[in-house]
Amino acid sequence: MDAMVQPATSAGASQTAPAKAKVVARDVNVYYGDKHALKNVSVDVPDRSVMAFIGPSGCGKSTFLRCINRMNDTIPIARVTGKIEIDDLDIYDKSLDVVQLRARVGMVFQKPNPFPKSIYENVAYGPRIHGIARTKAELDEIVASSLQRAGLWDEVKDRLGDSGTGLSGGQQQRLCIARAIAVGPEVILMDEPCSALDPIATARIEELIDELRQNFTIIIVTHSMQQAARVSQRTAFFHLGVLVEEGPTETIFTTPSDRRTQDYITGRFG
């Protein structure tokens, strides 16, 4: 796992100017049957930063997010065209193993969905199926460090055998984050990770996202514009399946260039 996660670089320096792009999407279209859900989306996500996708419901931001780890493959009627590359690797290439891709691109879902197993098993499952840990001690080490990085260790270290579903909503979501980072991904996708949580739990997750930025590229879909403003360095605004505007978060929220963006962030619709 340590081989996949490089030590933290000076992430703060690249707040506005994009560094080398980690995820590159070009002309991505998604169709659900006859419905054209996503139209010609092209975007660059810089390495080790947080990019927020905002927009009204049904605008295609979650659809696009799910393209990045090919979760849309599980929907039989979904069809994706265009190109998405992670570190110059075309993820829709036919020879690519989608399971390996998902190990590189972790995902945290809207509703906390821990496995109905012990806390330990929740985190250990990923490393185990990918053969990351060779011994029990190594696995213990990965579980502990993942929980530590997800800020959950102090709360659960004495009850790793308890069921993951017995935790509170915020703890469950942090457990899901720990589960995602345990396989050592490069990119973490978060689909409205705080929508089911109370403000205090939300604040903890936001702090956590800010810390994880040191080591991971994070793409977060959110309905809360304050959240987007707080955690992200860059923001993309989607509307009716079209990427309307993308740029540094500060610019989007202070001087958006598109009328629709301005209407949305000032609460005129949505």
């Binding site: 599980t74 039989p76 399971v99 995902m107 109905p116």
Partner: protein, 533 residues
Amino acid sequence: MTDTTSQAARSIDFESDAARARIKARYRAERRFRFYGLAAIGITTLFLIVVLSDIVAKGLPAFTQYVLVMKVDVDASLVDPKDARNPADIRATGDFDALVRNALRAQFPEVNARSERRQLDSILSTGAADALRERVTSDPALIGQTVTVPVLLSSDADLYFKGIGTQVVRTAGRGTATPSGTSGEIEIASTSGDFAIALARVRQSDAAEPEALNEQMPSLLVAINGGMVKITEIGADRAKGNVYLPLTSAAPAAPGQWQVVTYATPEGNRRLNDRVVTWLESLKERGEIERRFNWRFFTSGDSREPELAGIRGALVGSALTLLVTLVLCLPIGVAGAIYLEEFAPKNRVTEIIEININNLAAVPSIVFGLLGLAVFLNFFGLPRSAPLVGGLVLALLVLPTIIIASRAALKAVPPSIKEAALGVGASHQQAIFHHVLPLAMPGIMTGTIIGMAHALGETAPLLMIGMVAFIVETPLSITDAATVLPVQIFLWSDLPEIGFQARTAAAIMVLLAFLFLMNGTAIILRRRFERRW
């Protein structure tokens, strides 16, 4: 949001008569609906109680059996004439039936006529000597000694003690009765017209002369001086009759020391004649009749004699058949369900397959029996009446149920679990086998158990493949001829002997007990592993 004002203007009218009538009508409708519901549940419960109590009332007597516990001399010349004391020989050639018969005859030394002896023998079952044979075979040292063993009574005698014979009414004599002899045909004279009441009951002619009794009338007997006299002709103060049990003396019996005994059911309407009833009553008075738990019902196979028939063969047959069914059904059903639910492409072909699985669940079971007959017996030439074929047929029958239940259980696992597994890089198959299937397992088990319970109670298809035969031996393998519990019930219910009626009901009770047990297990599984997401 802008219509708040117009809504306030058109507020609902709660006060008018029409509004009150509306509310009343609504309450009436709700009351009516509740009444319908209660009535439906009430009727169902009533029927259930009637059916169950009828079965239990009929079946319970079959779980006990009356035996004659008596001393038997184990005569070496009958059991082991060669004096070899070889258990196998003793079991095979020893005439234990004769030992038991002799012991019974010794209790009634006055019985000498051939036909009477045969009647006396008829109160014993053909399996009467089984217990004695077991004891002596396992311990040959008993030969030459006297042992006390339980002797199985015939079904008729057993039923007599269970109350399906006749009511016996005893009336103490008020006068002094004097018998004219101690055996043969005698006359009894009473000093105070003790026979008048009985005579009034049976009198057919107005004449004052004594009335001859026949077998369409209740039987009258007199118990006097330790003997029994069957009355054939009766007057007001004297009665003529035959001695069934010899009297100890011909001395006069004081008032209260003798009795008029009435067997209320006329002899012609009973299976046991007065002589046999008298013997049985006499044995009961001697304390030799005992009611015991009928283990034999669970340890022996079918028989033509009700008192010897048991359900062991049918139980083992059912178990073997269900085993074959389960071994076939569970893997195929679960694999089919997983494939259809999670892997199959959603197209025309899978749709047709799904529709047909649902249709198969509704096909009458006898059709599966015909299919089994045509395919497994006629085409593949598998053995007739075998649990293997029964299991194959029942597997066909239960498979749709298991597939449907398993698919429902798989569908009930929230997709978020699968997504979570896919999200950490599990393959589709890993996600299903590591996460979805374990969570669906309680539901699959519940469906399987209910399917198995369905198979356990199934009769019609098994008739078609010949599992309806009379089979005494307990089947030892899935290719032996066998029958199953519901078919055994079907067979017994068809037999005319009264003894089989109770056994039919008892077998139904056993079958129901198994069904309740299986369904109870299914409910417990469901409760125990139920999850709230």
